[in-house]
């Protein structure tokens, strides 16, 4: 039996806080893409206002981590749980910002976006959402293999990003009057590409948490 029941409880609560924040971020990403694809400004507005709650959770949970370091002098795995916790929080908070960027782009193009260029987005979006989900699953279960597999998907995202970027440029060249609108999709594609990078960071944190080894995976 553990001699540190109070500390163990704190570590469990920390993990729950991180997962609560993660589910907010996942929903925020989903809604931002929904707002874009359905061109629904109300959903976009909810994502934008909802980002404050995500930011607040980051700072509250980060403070909990700092307090645990100061009061419990964690070592070994405990230390890794807290340090990776802080880094995952930072990545989640940034992911929330990317979702907000997508929602802002959605606001700007609502009702004006031609259907054709918009078709380029869902495939990339699906892949990125899958990475985020797998990254968080890997964190919940301490699953190193899942984290590794997820990080490999970042190459696919980068490839689709490059293709999408080119397609959108070509589309704008052919339809110059759509530039003021379609240019926002370039920003959305960029946000998705960054979201995949953040998911990869979380995967690397999971691997460090479990094995104690740093692996740059993408």
């Amino acid at each position: 039996m553990s001699n540190r029941r109070a500390f163990d409880t704190e570590l469990n609560e920390l993990k729950h806080d991180i997962l609560r924040m993660a589910s907010l971020v996942e929903r925020s990403i989903f809604n931002a893409l929904e707002a874009l694809l359905k061109q629904d400004p109300l959903i976009a507005r909810d994502v934008i206002t909802g980002d404050d709650a995500i930011d607040r959770m980051r700072y509250e949970t980060e403070n909990r981590c700092i307090r645990l370091i100061a009061t419990q002098q964690p070592m070994a795995r405990d230390l890794r749980v807290i340090v990776t916790g802080i880094k995952i929080l930072i990545n989640l908070e940034r992911m929330g910002d990317h979702a907000e960027d997508i929602a802002r782009a959605a606001m700007c193009v609502c009702g004006r976006m031609p259907a054709k260029p918009l078709e380029k987005i869902p495939r990339m979006a699906q892949l990125v959402q899958r990475m985020v989900k797998d990254g968080l699953d890997a964190y919940v279960h301490g699953d190193v293999e899942k984290a590794r597999q997820m990080c490999l998907m970042d190459d696919d995202v980068d490839e689709i990003y490059n293709l999408t970027f080119q397609d959108l440029i070509t589309y704008m060249e052919e339809n110059p009057h759509t530039i003021p609108c379609v240019v926002y999709l370039l920003m959305v594609a960029r946000s998705l590409e960054r979201l995949a990078d953040r998911a990869t960071n979380i995967g690397e944190e999971v691997i460090y948490l479990v094995t104690g080894e740093w692996k740059e995976l993408n």
């Binding site: 540190r4 002098q73 964690p74 070592m75 070994a76 795995r77 230390l79 890794r80």
Partner: protein, 246 residues
């Protein structure tokens, strides 16, 4: 260098086949729960266990190639080379000066000027000179606990040892005195090989280069301190340093 060291108190085996390298001019910390053998191990290194009846030691402890647990060793000479600081400061009931000059005098030194030099150098090396230079000839018992412990270290340094053994040297001291001792250790390791037993995990992590984890008379794991405290290989080490042992 320790090879296959075992120690029995009568029928009880207190150290079981210890193999370990203690690097020169580094600080090696020994950690482990009470009764795990770390203090017994420390005492083997300057033959303090010789005083206890029924103790049998086997294996080798090599200091510059000489097996110091062998029967032919001159224990007095050994203790000059391998000095020990204890948990509670134990200055002799005499002046600060006489405490430090005690060892060199025992070893036959009488020259007043030479003794003065040794006392000043030892007190300086123990980071105590500035605090006691004006009260060298007053009783050492009037010093604070932290000062007394540094005096005990100065008393060791006066006989120019190679190895310093420290058995929880700051466990009876307040936090500031503890930090002074820890700072001092960092200075001393430039010239001495130091082995320290500590119950304070943070102290082991802060001050040492190498850490060995003892459990039930065995070394479970020993290695570079940074690694041992962030990524121990043995589950028992992990449980102990994270406070989940037992």
């Amino acid at each position: 260098m320790i090879r296959d060291l075992s120690l029995h108190y009568g029928d009880l085996q207190a150290l079981i086949h210890i193999n370990m390298d203690v690097p020169e001019r580094r600080i090696t910390a020994l950690i482990g729960p009470s009764g795990c053998g770390k203090s017994t191990f420390l005492r083997v290194l300057n033959r303090m266990n010789d005083l206890i009846e029924g103790v049998r030691v086997s294996g080798e402890v090599l200091l510059d190639g000489q097996n110091i647990v062998g029967p032919e060793v001159d224990v007095v000479q050994l203790r000059k080379r391998v000095g020990m600081v204890f948990q509670r400061p134990n200055p002799f009931p005499m002046s600060v000066y006489d405490n430090v000059a005690y060892g060199p005098r025992i070893h036959g030194l009488k020259n007043k000027q030479r003794l003065d030099e040794i006392v000043e150098r030892s007190l300086r090396d123990a980071a105590l000179w500035e605090e006691v230079r004006h009260r060298l000839f007053r009783s050492a018992l009037g010093l604070s606990g932290g000062q007394q412990q540094r005096l005990c270290i100065a008393r060791l340094l006066a006989v120019e040892p190679d190895v310093l053994l420290m058995d929880e040297p700051s466990s009876a001291l307040d936090p500031i005195s503890t930090l002074k001792i820890e700072e001092l250790l960092q200075e001393l390791k430039k010239d001495y090989t130091i082995i320290i037993v500590t119950h304070n995990m943070q102290q082991a992590a802060r001050v040492s280069d190498i850490t060995a984890f003892f459990l039930s008379g065995e070394v479970v794991e020993s290695g570079v301190t940074d690694t041992l405290f962030t990524k121990p290989t043995d589950k028992r080490t992990e449980d102990y340093i994270t406070g989940r042992f037992g």
